[in-house]
Amino acid sequence: MIWTNILKAFLMGGFICFLGQLLLNYTNITNGKILVFFLVLGAAFQAFGLYQPLIDFFGAGASVPISGFGCSLVNGAVEGVKQEGFFGGIKGGLEATAPGIATAIIFGYINAFLFRARTKKK
């Protein structure tokens, strides 16, 4: 049971990253644009309710890639609209994704204190 979950996550996560690598290989897109592209793609999918079924079936395989981040932004915003109307829609997206962003900021700051920049070897 647990192993099938992990296998499903592995296959879906691998597939999404595979798509990203296809874009990296065959277009002039950069890493930052890839992040934005997948985020907006996930958000657009979820706008039509297509991404949540993927998360329900593939688990972390769909929720860990950045498109899952976009999906939870939209989920939060839509739930906010249903509960509080206009202002709920404004705040809902960030509210839903705040844990991830906050963790990145907090650990980024801590790590910036702890570590020095490494000289890049080529």
Binding site: F18, L19, P99, N111, F115
Partner: protein, 170 residues
Amino acid sequence: MNKTQNKQIPTKEVQEKCKIKSYKNDIKTTPYVDYVLQISPKSPHVRNLVWAFLVGGIICSIGQIIIDLFVANGVETKQASVYASCILVALAACATGLGIYDKLGRFAGAGSTVPITGFSNAVVAPAIEFKSEGLIYGVSAKMFTIAGPVIVNGIFSSAVIAIIYLILGV
């Protein structure tokens, strides 16, 4: 500039590949292999794709293991996936600080960029790199060079979608 680099780099790679493929003893074939590898650009692409698939899959599997552990301890699935992505972000931040994540990114490509760990790396790496420019304009500002566009576009598109939902009354 590029042409000279292209001439120099394949010869090193070719030497390694020849060792791996045990062409080492056959001296006559090496110029030919050299030529073939220079002509065909597809092999690194395929290798990149395989690495991206494997690394991306492994990162998502780790996420799934964390989710399953939380669910086994009685956390709801939705909460568990939020916690799991927090833990992945924290782990990737520390891996970036230690310089492990950049090494991974060198061969994993999109496999390390597209998962949420790549977002974390995009926050932490410039924060460390621009430490010398001070805490305010260095660390705090440069933290969002890549993550900023992600957050801006994400929040904007989610708000637009939510307002469309509101207007349509779905």
